[in-house]
Amino acid sequence: MLSYLWGFMIIIGIIVSLFNGNIGEVGNAAINSSKEAVTLCIAMVGIMAMWTGMMQIAKKSGLVASFTKTLRPVIALLFPDLPKNHIVNEYIASNMIANILGLGWAATPMGLMAMRELKKLNNNSDLASCDMCTFLIVNISSLQLIPVNIIAYRSQYGSVNPADIIMAGIVATCISTIAGVIFATVARKIVNHKRK
């Protein structure tokens, strides 16, 4: 998938530059961009390590676990058909908390375990259950509250106040998550109605 996208970008770029007569600039841009990517990553290590360090404290002090517990009533509301006290509730909550805290790489393993459990609860059918649809729609609506990466990029490219977009981002994220929840709830109602 990405092979085509990436290959296409380079081929198109070179063809367009032949028409525009600026092939020399294209070569320079390729060299400079690769160097720039490394410079950027070095700057990012600092901000990223600061964040993951803080999150490690949050994990060890029990803060993440207590957030996960707080999320339980929300999970019950979003997934009314799930058996209470089933391990899948735990997986879904952990995945969402990791996403909210901007720990995407920690969220994925939890999310995959949640999906496998949801499949078992769905009699191993290869048709997605309403719970799976809700889980993914809410996930894709983006839950992350503090976009650590984007703040790092803004800082590297000379923003005066790289964090000044946080609150606006949170508002946009909340609106899209609410929209996702409404969509998933209505779709579930329609599916259940048809079944009856």
């Binding site: 990553c41 360090g53 060890k60 002090s61 996930n139």
Partner: protein
């Protein structure tokens, strides 16, 4: 609306205060844990570095050749009636497939217009409030062995549309 910018300044210090304060109260060895966690940060960045190099080179080639300008001029007839900047439509579309490709486009916008410009702020907010639809769906459904995904895609496209519109409205209101 300036209180939204004002509050943004408090979020990171407040989060740190909360985490460190609670860590001290619960007698967690916070400094040792911080050092341990910080090591993970290196790994996270190291993992994305090769992807970022590859994609930034591709975007760099597209920008230098004039192809990106050409693309945004081609998109103007679609985006202008929607009052959406034509430079940002490729970012929104690419983000559905690949987060790192969208990041490279974001960096290109930062370079061309600056992170504190209208476009720079809008693209920051759009990318912080959307997820990669096709990648996430592929990974999650593949892991579960589910083939028919039902209304997941429509729902995901709907939330992306909502968050993009919300980002434009909020950026216009706040900045």
């Amino acid at each position: 609306m300036s209180f939204i910018i004002y509050m943004s300044n408090y979020i990171i210090p407040f989060t740190f205060f909360y985490i460190v304060g609670l860590g001290l109260l619960s007698k967690t060895p916070i400094y040792d844990e911080f050092i341990k966690g910080a090591k993970d940060g290196f790994k996270v960045v190291l993992d994305i570095m090769p992807t970022l190099i590859g994609l930034m080179v591709a975007i760099g080639v597209l920008r230098a050749s004039g192809a990106l300008d050409l693309l945004s001029r081609l998109l103007e007839p679609i985006t202008d009636p929607l009052h959406f900047p034509s430079e940002l439509l490729p970012v929104v579309l690419v983000k559905m497939f690949s987060s790192s490709a969208a990041t490279s486009l974001l960096l290109d916008i930062f370079k061309e217009y600056g992170p504190d410009s209208y476009l720079g702020r809008l693209v920051s907010i759009i990318l912080s409030s959307t997820e990669t639809i096709f990648y996430t769906m592929a990974v999650y459904f593949m892991a579960a062995g589910v083939k028919k995904t039902r209304y997941t895609l429509i729902g995901a496209l709907f939330t992306t549309l909502v968050s993009t519109i919300a980002s434009v409205v909020i950026t216009n209101l706040v900045f």
